[in-house]
């Protein structure tokens, strides 16, 4: 299997690992330990030319702390302002959540594949999210709302550990007014919670799906997505109509570091949004 040895073609000066600086314009607390940062590139030309698709992510860099992959959670129709909803998970994300308006961070992106919103066309869409997993799906909701008539029935099934962990609750009313059905659940209620208690996949029992006319997009803990897929398949939704967003350790987002491999897939290149049919042989394999 000998490989050809062509003289490499050099893109001089272009360093895909080098971020550009962006200024934090607003910070909105969303839930316990989670805030949404609205950012804009300092370079006006860059800010004006930045575009992204729902489901794509940026690499955010804080000097002295490090770099993390964070989804764009804002409206792709207004790409000059980049929204990032960040949960304090460790060193870098905690440092992010200590920043103030006016602070600066490095940003490079957008990277990765996106939710096939265009494939929904007039079909129905079921969005299933758990916890912070709603962040990469919010751009789908916002994109759908822009052209609501182009789509069929659109349902959001969303759950978190407790009511205080639910994201974007202040927007749910607007989404519902925009003809998006919102069903929520929590693992553990509190004294004010009147909604459903239980795991996210159970929300499927609240809706009827037309198996031939429905796309499913899901993001959340892998174990949740496993049961979401199970419920979707049980309703005869074809594998090819199920899309999931995967997460793996990521150091570069451009395919050099090797960390995000998932079988043949680089989550940073062919992912994070993947068609379930394409990864079925690997999905759910222990410690894969």
């Amino acid at each position: 299997m000998s490989v050809a040895l062509p003289v490499p073609e050099i893109h001089a000066g272009l360093d895909p690992m080098r971020p550009d600086w962006a200024v934090i314009q607003a910070i909105k607390p969303e839930a316990y330990g989670i805030q949404t940062f609205t950012m804009r590139f300092s370079d006006p030309k860059l800010a004006a030319s930045f575009r992204f698709q729902p489901g794509q992510f940026n690499m955010l860099y804080l000097p002295a702390f490090g770099e993390v992959a964070i989804s764009l959670s804002s409206d792709p129709g207004e790409p000059q302002v980049m929204g990032h909803t960040i949960r304090s998970a460790g060193n870098v994300t905690r440092a992010f959540n200590r920043l103030k308006v006016g602070d600066v961070a490095g940003v490079r992106g957008p990277y990765g594949s996106w939710w096939p919103v265009e494939k929904v066309e007039s079909k129905n869409l079921v969005i299933v999210a758990g916890g912070i997993g709603l962040a990469p799906l919010r751009p789908v909701i916002l994109a759908v709302m822009r052209e609501r008539k182009a789509y069929g029935r659109v349902v959001l099934l969303y759950g978190a550990r407790t009511p205080a962990d639910l994201l974007y609750t202040d927007e749910f009313e607007k989404w519902q007014q925009g003809d998006i059905e919102v069903h929520t659940t929590v693992d553990l209620g509190d004294e004010h919670w009147r909604g459903q208690v239980g795991v996210v996949p159970q929300l499927f029992y609240r809706i009827r799906v037309d198996s031939k006319q429905t796309l499913v997009m899901t993001c959340g803990p892998e174990i949740m997505m496993r049961f979401v897929i199970y419920e979707a398949l049980a309703r005869r939704i074809p594998k090819e109509a199920i899309y999931i967003s995967m997460e793996r350790n990521m150091k570069c987002a451009v395919g050099f570091c090797g960390h995000c491999q998932y079988g043949p897939t680089f989550i940073c290149k062919q992912g994070p949004v993947l068609n379930f049919a394409s990864i079925e042989p690997f999905f759910g394999k222990e410690d894969f």
Partner: protein
């Protein structure tokens, strides 16, 4: 003495002593010479000054988990097998500063970090290792994004290749179709004979490097003798590795009991990934001064055998040795094909030699094959 230079794709003969002149020419052309040299009981790749640093009079003996240097009476410059180093040490350095930022008046700014990339002349590149460079090309400069640091080094190398005159027990290039004869991608390719080198000229730069050497056009007799050297080596390679059922065999056996079995022997030391000429995984380290007004990002070789490699908040994806060995082997021999259109293995055998417990990937694959549920 011939004043003119041989043309590209010509084969010539030079006396052994001319090697020094070739190296001098390369130095004069601005190349830093990198070649095999004896260090710490092994033949490593390092900067060399000239032929005096080459391992003349040394050869090696390799077995799974074993490497020994041996003196030899054969006056050969290249009469040994591969050592622990591969050329990735120079094209993809194990530690390299990527970015440097400083904070001034509340603003972060990048400082230039890249010194001009060194111009390397690689002396004594074997066929399998040359193929490995071709594979790393696909990974680092063959896709949508290009690693500029790799590219800048890679673009400038001079390849003085050598057709192997000896194979070790761990070599299996014939199975991987990567050797032992150098076929492309070189500037000069030598075949070492008792008193002369037969030299194939692969490029204009290669031809220049023969300047002021007493080269003569190779005769059919010379070429025949040179071909025999490689044929002899080819026939001496015992290790066979069946690849026709890959990658399917591994994909279909992700839950095979052999993974459990190899995990009882594997130490997770990551030696295999460090000596592998194609393994490219890296991590990025962040460091800063105490006042956090200056920071640096440094790229360092990483390994899928390291527990932290698969860290995500709240745990590691591959906590077991079984899953990490499986990741390494299925990447190398299966998913690499899907990702880059080539196997990630060139059959150099380094991972077999340098595994402290002598794990042999060809045997592991065979065990999976033999015990595969039909």
């Amino acid at each position: 003495m011939t004043a003119s230079l041989p043309r590209v794709s010509a084969s010539v003969v030079v006396p052994k002593a001319a090697l020094q002149k070739i190296l001098e020419n390369l130095c004069a052309a601005g190349f830093a010479l990198i070649g095999p040299t004896v260090r710490d009981g092994a033949i490593t790749l390092d900067e060399i000054a000239g032929v005096e640093d080459l391992p003349l009079g040394w050869t090696d003996e390799q077995q799974p988990g074993q490497y020994r240097l041996k003196p030899t009476r054969q006056p050969e410059y290249f009469g040994f097998g591969l050592g622990p180093h591969s050329w990735k040490k120079f094209l993809l350095p194990s530690r390299m500063k990527l970015l440097s930022v400083v904070r001034q008046n509340g603003n972060w700014t990048f400082q230039p970090v890249s010194e001009p990339a060194p111009r390397y002349a690689f002396v004594g590149v074997r066929s399998c290792d040359l193929q490995a460079i071709g594979i790393q090309d696909r990974v680092l400069i063959g896709g949508e994004f290009h690693d500029p640091h790799y590219a800048a080094r890679r673009e400038q190398i001079f390849v003085l290749a050598v057709n192997c005159g000896k194979a070790n027990s761990t070599c299996f290039c014939t199975s991987m179709k990567t050797g032992p004869r150098v076929t492309a991608g070189f500037d000069l390719a030598l075949t070492e004979m008792p008193e002369v080198f037969v030299v194939e000229v692969g490029s204009e730069a290669g031809s220049q490097a023969l300047g002021d050497t007493p080269w003569e056009a190779a005769t059919a007799f010379d070429l025949g003798r040179a071909a025999q050297v490689v044929q002899r080596v080819e026939r001496s390679i015992q290790r066979q590795f069946r690849t026709d059922d890959l990658p399917k065999l591994l994909y279909n056996n992700l839950e095979h009991s052999q993974w459990e079995e190899v995990a009882t022997r594997c130490l997770s030391c990551a030696n295999c990934t460090q000596v592998c000429p194609t393994c490219f995984c890296v991590t990025v380290e962040e460091s800063s001064n105490l006042t956090a007004t200056a920071a640096e990002r440094t790229r360092v070789w990483d390994s899928c055998f390291v527990l932290d490699f698969s860290h995500v908040h709240g745990g590691n994806i591959r906590p077991t040795l079984r899953s990490r060995y499986r990741q390494w082997l299925t990447h190398k021999l299966a998913s690499w094909l899907d990702q880059f259109g080539t196997s990630g293995c060139v059959g150099c055998g380094r991972c077999i030699t340098w595994c402290p417990v002598g794990i042999d990937l060809t045997e592991e694959v065979q065990a999976i094959r033999e015990k595969a549920p039909k």
